[in-house]
Symmetry: C2
Subunit: 534 residues, 2 copies
């Protein structure tokens, strides 16, 4: 089986995304994960351009990587200097990376207008720079910036640039669709031309997603002989992003018969994709192919019952292969099959004609009409489900809360304080706590009241919360304020769960989600959640 080398540039080109800023430690953590995943190259950055990247190359020397080679990125030398005294090239040598990718101009217009050099001088810059770096590294790649645009405008010149790089010792000629404007057939054609015009050359591909074709363009290049693909995890990158390795890798492995990171490693794809999303502090893209939360989610009743019979009915691959899961969504559009599937997950063998199924569907419909969305908060759904199944135990009774935020001086944070009265086992508890904001104060006061009775709550931490105004506007034209939906993610160190509140008052929505979170934890831990008769 032919191996296609995976060259990850999340840490360099990926950070050109407007949403992403990574610290040195973030970059180290991501490198370790990419090594675990088994990508062949991790491009750490451009040591000549900024201090974070320089530090990264220092720091990464302290780590042993199993599978990945760390590579450094830089440009051909400054036209007013010699390679020997160019600080950019010197930074590449000093950073100690064994693999280097040097980019150079291969579009005549860019050479003359952006760089301001003659076409011949451009060839020299490439040749000199590659020749200089060759002595210092084990592997050397030439990144042909704007190759496809250049090839359209002046094919002879673009090919001459590649030939200069090849002759000077570049191991792989990486053809870049820098502006992302190329079509698969153009990419395929150009790759073939390069390989036939420069005997003995090897070709790589680096695409951007401006036409929503970056994955297709990468695959087209492979079919035309490319042996290296450069891309980023989750397709992060400038503008519309780079070619998404999370789609390219499984397409090559599962659909096209190539080897990349190997089938065993493929099962880590989703978790490592998620990990990088977290480190980059971004929202995961729900509909992301292969690794997204919706990639194997089924809503329509017809689909759900078919998938339950035979998964290949509506799934192109088994989600386990990429470490993803099948999800069955609750929604007012969905049918009884979904409820039965969920019940099964909760350990119940519900029949289609069980009256509970109807009750649950009606509950969901009613609550979704005011903004609840159970597919996003499965713990809240689980509570709803068990209530419909007759669970009626209450761990505490609400009496009262009172929250104050007071600010008395500019440039200080307000003081936030909450008091709570709840009744537990017949006993009223009145507690107070201050916090970083009203929700934190409320959370602390509530736990203070409950922890003496339920010590396991001490391990529960709020991980994240999200707030979203429904109906697209805070207030409609009649002045009525919209509901907000608030999601809270909690953990007890072992599992995580998400609960939800909906109200036009954010404090009330927070309260609902907090109460659900605590009830969920107590419910899951409770050996006596059902009356003894059941």
């Amino acid at each position: 089986m032919k191996t296609i080398k995976i060259y990850d540039t999340t840490l360099r080109d990926g950070t050109q995304s407007e949403e992403i800023n990574l610290s040195v430690q973030d970059k180290i953590r991501i490198t370790k994960k990419l090594d675990e995943l088994g990508v062949h190259y991790v491009e750490g950055g451009w040591p000549g351009s900024n201090s974070t990247d320089k530090e990264f190359f220092e720091e990464i020397k302290n780590y042993h990587l199993e599978n990945s080679k760390v590579s450094a990125f830089g440009s051909t030398h400054n036209t007013r200097l010699q390679p020997e005294n160019d600080p950019n090239l010197a930074a590449l040598v000093e950073c100690g990376a064994k693999v280097v990718t040097l980019f150079g101009k291969t579009w005549d217009f860019h050479a003359t207008d952006a760089l301001g050099v003659s076409l011949d001088r451009n060839l020299e810059l490439i040749s000199n720079s590659i020749g200089f770096m060759r002595k210092h590294v084990e592997e050397l790649f030439f990144d042909a910036e704007h190759f496809f645009d250049g090839f359209k405008a002046n094919p002879d010149f673009s090919l001459a640039c590649l030939k200069a790089a090849h002759d000077a010792g570049a191991d792989v000629l990486v053809l870049c669709d820098t502006n992302g404007g190329s079509l698969p057939e153009e990419v395929a054609e150009a790759c073939k031309t390069v390989l036939s015009n420069i005997p003995g050359s090897k070709v790589g591909i680096h695409t951007h997603n401006d036409c929503e074709l970056a994955v297709a363009n990468s695959l087209a290049a492979v079919k035309s002989g490319a042996i290296q693909i450069q891309g980023t995890m989750n397709g992060y990158g400038e503008r519309c992003g780079n070619a998404n390795l999370c789609s390219i890798i499984p397409n090559l492995e599962l659909k096209m018969g190539y080897n990349t990171i190997g089938k065993e490693n493929l099962s880590m794809l989703k978790s490592i994709s998620n990990y990088i999303t977290e480190i980059a502090n971004l929202r995961p893209f729900l509909r992301q192919p292969y690794v997204g939360a919706a990639a194997f989610a089924h809503k329509g009743g017809v689909h759900v019952s078919a998938v339950m019979k035979d998964s290949k009915s509506y799934e192109h691959i088994d989600p386990i292969l990429v470490g993803n899961d099948r999800r069955v969504l609750l929604s007012d559009l969905s049918g009884k099959s979904n409820i039965i599937y969920k019940a099964h997950q909760f350990g119940y063998d519900l029949q289609k004609d069980d009256p509970a199924v109807k009750t649950i569907l009606a509950d969901i419909k009613e609550r979704e009409s005011i903004g609840f969305e159970y597919s996003a908060a499965e713990a809240s759904f689980e509570l709803l489900f068990f209530k419909a199944m007759g669970w009626s135990k209450r761990y505490f009774e609400f009496i009262n809360f009172f929250v104050v935020d007071a600010k008395r001086k500019e440039d200080t944070e307000p003081f936030s304080e909450a008091t709570v009265i709840v009744k537990v086992h017949g006993q009223e508890n009145h507690t107070a706590a201050s916090g970083d904001g009203p929700v934190n104060a409320l959370d602390k006061a509530l736990r203070k009241a409950l922890e003496p009775f339920y010590p396991s709550l001490k391990n529960v931490r709020l991980m994240d919360f999200k707030v979203r105004v429904l109906n697209g506007a805070i207030r409609d034209s009649s002045g009525t304020s919209s509901n907000v939906r608030l999601l809270i993610e909690s953990t007890d160190g072992k599992t995580q769960w998400t609960t939800m509140g909906v109200s036009n008052n954010i404090i009330e929505a927070s309260w609902q989600a907090l109460v659900d979170s605590i009830n969920y934890k107590l419910f899951k831990d409770d050996p006596q959640k059902w009356p003894s008769s059941m």
Copy 2:
């Protein structure tokens, strides 16, 4: 120039997305916009499956559409019935749509295992159903469910299904990659085989994005002879979504020489894409090709200076063609060129060596390090910019605020009240207001204090707010709470602006964003924003 017909199924297949639920009125509004955009067909829904869709077809009769034909979706008849007494087909006839798309099984496994009929009976179902509908509609399309999977498993049977539909009178055979697992070369090959095996047939294409190849697959089908493309706006749809018309249309029009909605209409693409995002109540996808906010955004300093020289340097098309804009991003990664570009937008001719440029870059860097992100809140940036340029006017002075949320009964919303003391023109104003939650109460109390002095604030409305916990967790392992970033979108009925607050206290973050929003409005309206000496 060859015309490819655009068949939009946002209202039907798009609503299978777990995030989307549309009311009848939402569907009407979207239909009118799609008509304006000039898509050829708008699939309104499946009248036989639910009451919302049924109502839609009743309601849409009251509107005159200029460009689009409304189509209805349904399945071949129930195997236990005749077409004449099948309620699903009857609903299609009754709904009054002049265009109908009927789907049928074309994968042997689905016919036998999901539907439970013999292969011959499946051919009859198709033939009978198409034959029956033919008499009732002007245009009739056969949607070949799972065609590509079926064609791989049993090509003779799949082709026989298509032939049955064609012979019974289907105008177009729409080949569906229902599970989204096909590759472009497979799609191309299959389209060619169908066209050569069924003389006189016309082929359409309907793909899903499970391999991140839906756009490429649609284009491959067109290159192989397909004349109709089915897809959704923004690629909404079940799992990873449908083929994204917002990418397919400009690819066909601008890159491949086909006519679809026409070049003039193309300039509405971004605004109509955004409109549908709003109606669907979803977050826009920043990196969306062609129409996303980042599609023509430039961050790297090198790119920015090159684009300012000649836009084709780093843009594959002129953003105006699809109604989008170039954006230059502020970020600590970005260089002086970005600041100069922004200054130019604000009417300033700053030079690279102006000390203000350095001040602004340092301000941005410092504030971004604690969580500010100016690319998301350009109004807050504009204020920062003008402060660095020496603007120091203050419209009011903060003295004090106090916010209370009290809840005394379960199943009621808390009572929220705020008091504010601010000084305007030397005069202290103490106001109070209640509201739907603390932020609303604070906003109302602040306006009460300011509106007597600044009547234009009466027109300012908060449109939306977003809250995001930074650093990926509410509290780090040392127990320190993370900052939240809160964005507020405001409008005065003419323009919209976004401001930002960052704090570990959500009330403080709201306050910062509110104050910025009001200051921005007053600043923009103020003829005397500068001391007379300037």
